[in-house]
């Protein structure tokens, strides 16, 4: 037979209050649509529905070395040091100041010391048009902005 071990009134009270407070912050975060309350911010991953006849924007990076052809570069901590989603959420700032791409080029070069450094880093988008929820037509390539080594 086991004997339940009860919490003291104070021990029970702070625990229940802490739990309710966190839930209150979580609910607030949802309606404020705020990520600022992390880890109890808005749970909005994949929450924006996509129009079945809309388009899918795929953000991309292209690098170029002096005299070379453009080539695709992956996002991520093991490539340019930052994830695609981080860059996408900073897009307006990067368009206003393409030098924000400089640390990405520097990180990529640091991981490819045996090769020429990047002379250009292009932030681009590959846009797929949808029709009835399926890909339709050719993928459109759009250059958003570019950083050029000085």
């Amino acid at each position: 037979m086991t004997v339940p071990r009860a919490l003291t009134p104070l021990g029970a009270a702070w625990r229940v209050l802490a739990l309710l407070a966190c839930l209150a912050v979580l609910v607030t975060g949802q309606f404020l649509r705020s990520n600022d309350l992390f880890p109890f911010g808005v749970l909005d991953q994949f929450s924006s529905g996509t129009d079945p006849d809309g388009e899918v924007v795929n953000t991309c990076l292209q690098g170029q070395r002096e005299g070379g052809a453009p080539f695709d570069i992956d996002f991520g901590p093991r490539s340019v040091g930052i994830a695609r989603a981080d860059v996408e959420n900073t897009l307006p700032a990067i368009e206003a100041d393409p030098d924000l791409l400089a640390p990405l080029a520097a990180e990529y070069d640091r991981r490819h010391l045996d090769e020429e450094p990047l002379s250009v880093l292009v932030l681009c988008q590959r846009i797929t048009t949808l029709r009835d929820g399926s890909a339709h037509g050719e993928v459109e390539f759009v250059e958003v902005t570019r950083w050029t080594a000085t």
């Binding site: 086991t2 004997v3 071990r5 625990r15 808005v42 929450s47 996509t50 079945p52 093991r78 929820g133």
Partner: protein, 310 residues
């Protein structure tokens, strides 16, 4: 209400959950949230979240990232080894929360870590007697007499009983609620952003995700059977909206429910490379992990029998 928020559950479950959670935290900071080290080179992207601003956390540097990671790993190993688990667990909690504030403070904020962050925060609040000790007489934790345990508990048991406590129950309940909340509250932004759950479920969100980050199988589905995504989206919404029910399931029904949610995560992993592992790990809080102790105990007993027989 007390039995819902403060159920009396075995402290042995906390022992096993500590091993699972702290082992995963090590894996997490080395892989999934390992971007903190790389973020040292992206100070321009640092957009500190509210807690980071309150704590005046500056942009991450390479040295601080390495030191913080080392501190968390050492504390996790110590906690798993049972070295003052409440103190080392508190170090993990503080270190890991700071780590995650840096992982998520550079533009994009994911929500797959909420339950894990709750887990590391609540686990140190539970006093636990030794797992394979003297039977774990309740109230003897940390050498205290029954009636004055360090986690604010009162009452006691006798030697040979399985220790249970409301403190353990609260911690487990918090993790369970955090897991469920991760699904349930995600329906709110879906409604706010698209107008209704039906509008979201009938949209092309999985096509969008498949074209952006889908596997070969996902791209094949987009090309050949794109209609399959709408029922899949309805299924996903149903799982999210019904998730609170899991808090009240027991026995076989609970296991079936867990299997359904695991299947959902397996599907998103196969199709989109989205694993949600930090949340998946926390589903362990729903399981009778204390039975691992019985398993371990019976193995120990068998080994002793073999030794005696030899």
């Amino acid at each position: 209400m007390r039995s819902i928020l403060l159920p009396t559950l075995p402290t042995a479950r906390i022992h096993v959950l500590r091993v699972i959670v702290y082992a995963f935290v090590i894996l997490d900071i080395l892989t999934l949230s390992g971007d903190v080290v790389a973020h040292a080179g992206n100070a321009e992207y640092y957009t500190p979240l509210l807690l980071a601003r309150i704590l005046h956390l500056p942009a991450m540097t390479s040295l601080v990232a390495q030191l913080l990671r080392a501190l968390i790993i050492v504390a996790c190993v110590a906690a798993v080894a049972g070295v003052t688990p409440r103190i080392t667990g508190a170090v993990v909690a503080i270190g890991y929360w700071v780590w995650m504030l840096y992982s998520q403070g550079y533009g994009y904020v994911a929500h797959d870590h909420m339950a894990l962050m709750v887990a590391v925060a609540v686990l140190p609040t539970v006093a636990t007697p030794p797992l394979f000790g003297d039977g774990g007489s309740v109230g003897s934790a940390a050498g205290r007499p029954a009636g004055s345990a360090a986690d604010g508990s009162v009452g006691g048991g006798t030697v040979g009983e399985e220790p249970r406590s409301e403190a353990a129950g609260w911690a487990l309940r918090c993790i369970q609620i955090a897991v469920v909340a991760t699904y349930f509250f995600s329906i709110v932004p879906k409604i706010l952003y698209t107008g209704s759950l039906a509008a979201w479920a009938n949209s092309a969100i999985l096509t969008w995700a498949s074209l952006r980050r889908g596997s070969v199988l996902a791209h094949w589905l987009v090309e050949n059977v794109p209609w399959i995504f709408v029922p899949a989206q309805w299924g996903g919404v149903a799982l999210e909206a019904l998730s609170p029910v899991v808090l009240f399931l027991r026995g076989r029904a609970l296991y079936v429910a867990i299997a359904v949610y695991m299947s959902f995560h397996l599907a998103t992993l196969v199709l989109l490379g989205i694993h949600f592992l930090p949340t998946v790990i926390c589903w362990a809080a729903f399981l009778p992990l204390e039975r691992w102790r019985e398993l371990g105990g019976s193995r120990k007993h068998r080994r002793q029998q073999i030794r005696f027989a030899g």
